[in-house]
Symmetry: C2
Subunit: 357 residues, 2 copies
Amino acid sequence: MYLQMDRDRTITDTMTTKKATIKDIANEAGVSIALVSFVMSNQGKDPDERLYKVSEETSRRILEIAKRLDYHPNNAARTLRRGKTNTIGVVLSDISNKFFADIARCIEDRAYKYDYTVIFGSTDENAAKLENLVKVLVDRGIDGLIIVPCAGSEKFIASVADSHIPMVLMDRSVDNVDVSTVVLDNRAALSLAVSTLVDSGCSRIEMIGYDMPLSNAIEREEGYCRAMARFGLEENIAVHRIDFRNIEQQVREVVGEAVGRGVEAFVFGTNTLTISGLKVLDSLGIKVPEQVRVVGFDDSEAFELYRTSVAYISQPIEQFGQESFDLLMKHIRNRDMQSMTVTLKPHLVEGKSSSKI
Amino acid sequence: MYLQMDRDRTITDTMTTKKATIKDIANEAGVSIALVSFVMSNQGKDPDERLYKVSEETSRRILEIAKRLDYHPNNAARTLRRGKTNTIGVVLSDISNKFFADIARCIEDRAYKYDYTVIFGSTDENAAKLENLVKVLVDRGIDGLIIVPCAGSEKFIASVADSHIPMVLMDRSVDNVDVSTVVLDNRAALSLAVSTLVDSGCSRIEMIGYDMPLSNAIEREEGYCRAMARFGLEENIAVHRIDFRNIEQQVREVVGEAVGRGVEAFVFGTNTLTISGLKVLDSLGIKVPEQVRVVGFDDSEAFELYRTSVAYISQPIEQFGQESFDLLMKHIRNRDMQSMTVTLKPHLVEGKSSSKI
DNA sequence: CTGAAAGCGCTTACAG
DNA sequence: CTGAAAGCGCTTACAG
């Protein structure tokens, strides 16, 4: 019991031992806090670029004391003074979704390199949640935002753009808003998917996508339709739009019905839909690619495992993360920069299910 | 060109229109900034708990002006004054790994509820990176840390614990350090795995885990060995330790060799190993469960898809996130709290590959 | 080469 | 019920 109390007292003591500040260093070194601040802030800088010269000896002494006192600049004070947080907010659909988790990781790495901190938020495709998240982040004082817009958030996105907070949209674009955007060439992606299937002898190819008014969903549909038309398969065009709140059941119905009609191949519009579709096909006892061919979307460990593996459209994840971050940095550094759109190229990963038999 | 300039000027104007502060509100309302601050900080609070009473009318007027001026408290100033950031750091292995991504999502949701912001960092099982990340986060001034320790980080973890920064370890424990921890009952998990396989008629069951001195890896091995012993299968015990930097190749060798020896079943120690193992089995043309049975670890969309699906140990992801966060909150609120360990229960998700034929 | 001082926006005893 | 004032830790002209 006594031991316990001693231990607690020690904890409290340590707690009240405040962290060292520039004031402590200044006292110890017998110089002004201004000098300490200056030395601390000009560490890595090229001597010629420094505003003032500090004598080698003083500088060294200050640095040494700082080290001894285990000095760490107070971030809040610095932020308050500088008006810059070195933090960005990243608002995406769901960070537990593999596609976004992968991108998150790339952004994290890149931000770390640039001495930026990133705060993630998931919207679950809910516009109210997106709005709330962005507000919280802005209140926190982020320097910029990377946002995956969701259906219904268009007006709010426009208002954020108007407020001139540095911002980059990712994965999906929003019409009539002057904002930088990083997206996939979705039409090219679906064109790739259709071509592959046509090459392998299919003509009854149907698409399964989301029933959401999102740029990427719309463009993927368009890409599918155009590609089908290009191959003279207009009459086989069929797009099934799935409500993302009820994926499992709807995919089951759609796939079951389509297979019954003798469809030869499916193109799925997202990774979640692909997984769901493969499960359904499996449970129906339908063999891929023997009975039905499949082209999925996004990388998934599942695709490689699925029987002799399915083919899928692979998005350049790293580029998504990097380009979004880099573009945001540019906007942060130059607030007057023109907004721009970066379009990334997809590529097709062949699986036996799409190749010629 | 002129239009362009006009546009830029507007941007600049907007930019220099500074955000409203309590001072602006005070001026507008004809009261002191102290009063404004007080009103703003006691919004939701029970009137009886408020330190002072402010006249209804004044309060309402201030709130109204705040709203009109779109006032948002400056986070940096508040933090500087309060010495509390309402931000926690979460350092995990790799946020793009499904297991951690899922947990991250749970922590994010929970933190959001409690008005906390969370900053994630990935270590890639690299102790130096972990150390660096934690230092950056502490410099940023987080209120607490959730850490997935990696091999080699033990001493550093101990030093962080000594500094009395509120901290919770997750997924893995560290010996001889007085720190709260949330872990899976790994022995129970492997016991479940082995029992299931024995039930389905296997006796030549081998385990494939990581070659890492981590508590969870060690406990899973122990769990496997004990369970095998309990069933009188001591002589069949075989644990294969994989170097996590070279998973693919090593798993290929180990699995290939074991199958050659007529092994009946594999227990994999993590999701990554399971995926890797299933790929190898597939590429070797070995049918699961007909030729070899498999019990994997962690949920993966891939498992359900894998042929007639494999069985796997499912970890309670939500609890991992929630318990870790809640425990950390307790430590933040009560700095003298005794550290404690929360052990979560695994459960087995049956797949046809493990069930009796 | 170095120091004194103002100020970033907020909170919190203290005084009335 | 309300105000004046100090101070959180830092940066940045300004002055010498």
